[in-house]
Amino acid sequence: MSEARGRFRDSAGAAASSKYHWTVIVGVPLAAILFQVYVPRFFADLAYLELPLLVTVYFSLTFRSPMAGLLYGASVGLAQDSLARPQHPLGMYGIVKTLVGFFTAFVSQRFDVRSSSIRAILAFFFYFFHEFFYWVLSRALLGESVDFDPVRTLVRAALNGAVAAPLFLLLDKLKTTE
């Protein structure tokens, strides 16, 4: 439990292993959720940032294991659900982030995802997927009449993608490569 291991495939096709201390794997998503809880109170414009999602995407890309990705996504999503208002049932974010974690890890098994631009594009795509699927679940399971504005979601996805690139580089600094 002291270390978790993820593997990146470099451009030449060789496998490089990456290790993270368990405090990073637990602390980073916790910090991301706290950011979402606390910071928009004072900087409302930053409410568009879905840091727990970006962290899920990053670690799922790093783990390169769909099983680990889905478990990580489910954990982050359920933690986010538990801090939502009581009318928001547990499992909404859990399901969406489970899918995001699974598919992100699935993509990372088949493509070289070390490039910042590729990772930003993945963050963009999965943000849109996350918001769209959350909207579908809200309507289908909860019967909520929530608006979905594709243009606004695309703009926010682009902003999250732009934030993801430097954020992922920063998180890369926390790993210890063998």
Partner: protein, 368 residues
């Protein structure tokens, strides 16, 4: 079967994870019950950290505010010494004092003057769901907070408690789409239902087109919802227009306009009255009190004697002067107004002239 599970191990795991969470969702939706334990754990885990961050931020903000305030006052003093006379400087100082009055002081004054029993709380975070407008406050079940309690500020209502944890509580804001409260307009007494719509403005629904309502009219809580005590400010109507079936009334909630940091949770609400008097935060022109010349002209002492009935605060009309005169006549003859057993005083003498004792009371009861 084993081959299938091994071949599609990842997909099977995904299916199990999704189905498990769907089951959790179905249980919550079907039973209408929350998985409270998980929420309690999560909020309890986050609360100390959020308190620590909020404390640090508040301390830093207070220090910076004081530092820059002192810096500005020094500069301002130098400018005032050069440009303004002593009176203007004192005036400026008082204005600066007023403008920098601590919110907590204002809140404490409101809390003291309010009839309802309230508890001050500090907002320590937001909830995470994107569609909701809710905040977390640092008071919980340990402080006597219960689900359904109203949350207010001196400026107006803020929301209501929708979730209680040991040391924290979730507050649904008036701007949340699921929020509703009974309101009444101050001037025309039009009743309606306040509804949040996920934006900074809220709507007041169920007002018929035939009802009279003016833009700019203030709305207050009606007390019909059994959550908010009657007579608390809600907001001012910004848009009033006839709709297809009912009036479309948009309101700017006054409680959430100036930021949310400190709030009051109503532990025991007392319904107030709704008057047509101007609300406290509206500018009102007030004349200076009249001098005592008028009272001196009538020969009456404007100051009430010790133990006597309280005199009107100002003697401005002929009626006031007459009342003062007869009160003085009665006092000179030791007459106690309202006592049926004492004879009527002699009104033909002035208070300064010698008084002839009044005739004894008749044996038969006086005619009404």
């Amino acid at each position: 079967m084993d081959f299938f599970l091994n071949r599609y191990r990842n997909l099977t795991a995904l299916l199990v994870a999704i189905l498990a969470q769907l089951g959790l969702l179905a249980y919550q939706i079907k039973s209408g019950e929350d998985v409270r334990l998980i929420r309690v754990w999560a909020v309890t885990a986050v609360t100390p950290l959020a308190r620590f961050i909020e404390g640090g931020r508040g301390g830093l903000a207070h220090f910076l505010k004081n530092y820059f305030l002192l810096w500005n006052v020094q500069e301002e003093n130098q400018r005032l010494k050069a440009d303004l006379d002593r009176t203007e400087m004192e005036n400026q100082y008082l204005r600066a004092q007023l403008s920098t009055a601590d919110r907590a002081t204002a809140l404490a004054i409101f809390q003291k003057t309010s009839q309802s029993k309230t508890l001050a709380a500090r907002v320590i975070g937001n909830t995470t769901d994107p569609n909701g407008r809710a905040v977390i406050v640092d008071r919980g079940a340990a402080d006597g907070i219960q689900k359904g309690m109203a949350v207010i500020k001196p400026e107006g209502i803020v929301g209501k408690v929708i979730g209680v944890f040991p040391h924290a509580a979730d507050v649904l804001l008036v701007t949340d789409p699921s929020f509703a409260a009974g309101v009444v307009s101050q001037k025309n007494r039009v009743h309606g239902t306040l509804k949040g719509q996920g934006q900074s403005t809220v709507i007041v629904d169920y007002i018929q087109n035939e009802e009279t309502l003016e833009p700019g009219e203030w709305f207050l809580t009606s007390g019909d919802d059994l959550v908010f005590p009657r007579g608390i400010l809600v907001g001012q109507a910004t848009v009033v227009r006839p709709g297809k079936i009912r009036k479309e009334v948009y309101l700017t909630p006054s409680g959430t306009q100036s930021g949310l940091e400190d709030v009051l949770i109503v532990l025991d609400g007392v319904h107030g009255t709704i008057t047509e008097a101007p609300l406290p935060n509206q500018p009102v022109h007030v004349l200076p009190p009249p001098d005592n010349d008028a009272a001196a002209d009538s020969g009456a002492d404007p100051r009430p004697a010790a133990g006597s009935q309280p005199a009107p605060q100002s003697v401005a009309t002929d009626l006031d002067r007459s009342v003062e005169h007869y009160r003085a006549v009665g006092a000179a003859q030791n007459h106690k107004y309202g006592d049926k057993n004492s004879p009527a005083p002699n009104y033909n003498v002035t208070p300064d002239s010698p008084v002839r004792p009044p005739s004894p009371p008749p044996s038969s009861p006086p005619r009404p």
